[in-house]
């Protein structure tokens, strides 16, 4: 599979926060979730990729092209969705579109009208009268109307109700069906990723802590519960994170068979992405 986005040793410091040697890549035909708690560095990474903030070092390639030397060409091929406050509220959707559209050489008015119809958006309506969900759909209509090959979204589902979130995920799935596309979106709502993500990248304290296919990740990690009295220190080391009480322990691990060989009477449950994310964060502390 071709790599649609490659980030290599990206560094950027802000006061007491820094991105440290961020490296990852995203293959074509994949929906990639970029997860991490608030303040982990998701938005800073996305902004660095888009050239909105200056990086101190590192290389960023999209579609095999260097962002520094092919910025215009690359930006013509990506669609960007920020959270809801990236439009002038007093303008109508049509006026805002007239500002954005001329930037793209491959802007397709028919696609735009099609998305506006599909999302039941009236182009003459003022942006300040739109609900959060409608704004998100409008942002998607703008991002998808210039034949974008990669969609980059920063917390697109944040603050949306479950129905709108599920519609958004449907739109992304439809977009991917066209083939040769990619979606890279940051979120801290991991339940959305359980449904659609193919690949997961996790960032914590400005460092990439894992990059793995979702199914592999979910297959490898398990929640393990058992009796605290049988928990010896060498077994504790097999866990990514572990909580203990007088009544028992609950931990997350990817070394289940080894734990089972030491403590046979344990309860094993499937972990969610959120469980794994939190375990990585707790384990790193």
């Amino acid at each position: 599979m071709n790599k649609i986005l490659e980030v290599h040793r990206l560094n950027r410091s802000y006061g007491n926060f820094s991105l440290k040697d961020i490296s990852f890549s995203i293959p074509e035909d994949c929906i990639t979730g970029f997860i991490g708690v608030n303040g982990a560095g998701k938005t800073t990474t996305l902004n660095s990729i888009l050239g909105l903030i200056k990086r101190e070092s590192g290389n960023i390639k999209l579609f095999g092209l260097d962002m520094q030397t092919h910025e215009k060409e690359i930006k013509n091929r990506i669609g960007v969705v920020f959270d809801d406050s990236c439009f002038y509220d007093e303008l109508s959707m049509s006026e805002m579109k007239d500002i954005i559209a001329p930037a793209y050489t491959s802007w397709c008015e028919d696609d735009y009208k099609g998305y506006m119809r599909r999302f039941s958006l009236n182009p003459k309506q003022k942006i300040n009268t739109l609900s959060k969900g409608m704004r998100m759909k409008y942002a998607l209509a703008l991002a998808l109307s210039h034949k974008a090959e990669l969609l980059i979204m920063d917390e697109p589902t944040s603050g949306l109700d479950p129905l709108i979130r599920s519609q958004l995920l449907e739109i992304l799935t439809d977009y991917m069906k066209e083939g040769g596309k990619g979606v890279f979106f940051s979120t801290h709502i991991t339940s959305d990723l359980d449904k659609i993500a193919d690949m997961l990248i996790m960032i914590d304290h400005g460092k990439i802590v894992l990059q793995e296919e979702r199914d592999t990740l979910l297959d490898n990690y398990r929640i393990v519960k058992g009796d605290t009295r049988k928990l010896k220190s060498e077994i504790k080391n097999l866990f990514l994170s572990i909580d203990t009480t007088d009544f028992g322990f609950t931990g997350i691990s990817n070394q289940i068979s080894e734990i089972q060989s030491h403590v046979p009477d344990i309860v094993i449950e499937r972990a969610t992405i959120e469980d794994i994310m939190l375990a990585h964060i707790k384990g790193g502390e």
Binding site: C86, Y88, L91, A103
Partner: protein, 213 residues
């Protein structure tokens, strides 16, 4: 692309634009009526400065209110330098609108004065100095830290410009009259364009290094 970004500034200031252009109609009339000794030229100068700065302030307020729009525009294929150049284009556009309004006024009411090349180029030079100094400062420090400059310009220009005109009249007897008018026009135009170009280059450098998130 550049024209669309200039149009964007007109769009976001559209409510205010009409009011300010109306005010620019009345400033020269007011000056002629209230302080006729200053002449209609001062009315024109004040109307341009007031209109350009007040509308520019309105655009700056909107951009301050919605900072992520700049991020969205720069994540589209708009080069950052176009966002800077559009501000200069926008100010010059307002200047042309004010000149057009003044031209219509003096055509309808010839007793208010005339729109000479001296006045058009002199005003262009004044505007070039004002926005040439102001815009790089605003790109560097943002609207919140520079809004007081608006106030200073608006408050002092009714006092400053009559004094400058008097000074100009005094100097013109000694220096300007010795130079061929065409040569003088070319010099003034070149100085104005140079100021704007140097200022734009500084602003571009500032904005290129700015974090937009």
């Amino acid at each position: 692309m550049l024209l669309h970004l200039i149009k964007k500034d007109f769009l976001i200031a559209k409510k205010y634009l009409l009011i300010m252009l109306l005010i620019s109609v009345f400033i020269p009339i007011f000056v002629i009526w209230y302080v006729p000794e200053l002449g209609a030229e001062i009315g024109f100068v004040l109307s341009v400065i007031f209109t350009v700065f007040m509308i520019l302030q309105q655009v700056s307020i909107k951009e301050y209110q919605y900072p992520k729009v700049s991020a969205l525009l720069c994540s589209a294929p708009y080069p950052r330098k176009f966002l800077v150049l559009s501000k200069y284009g926008f100010c010059i556009g307002i200047y042309f609108l004010c000149s057009l309004i003044y031209l219509i006024e003096i055509t309808l009411f010839p007793m208010y004065g005339k729109l000479s090349i001296n006045l058009v180029l002199g005003m262009f030079l004044i505007l070039s100095v004002f926005i040439g100094v102001f815009l790089p400062i605003q790109f560097k420090y943002g609207y919140a830290k520079t809004k007081f400059i608006f106030m200073i310009v608006i408050m002092t220009s009714p006092i400053l410009f009559p004094q400058l005109i008097k000074l100009d009249k005094g100097l013109s007897l000694n220096i300007v009259n010795t130079i061929s008018p065409v040569f003088l026009y070319v010099i003034v135009a070149l100085i104005s364009i140079s100021i704007l170009m140097i200022s734009a280059l500084i602003s571009i450098k500032i904005f290129e290094d700015k974090d937009l998130a």
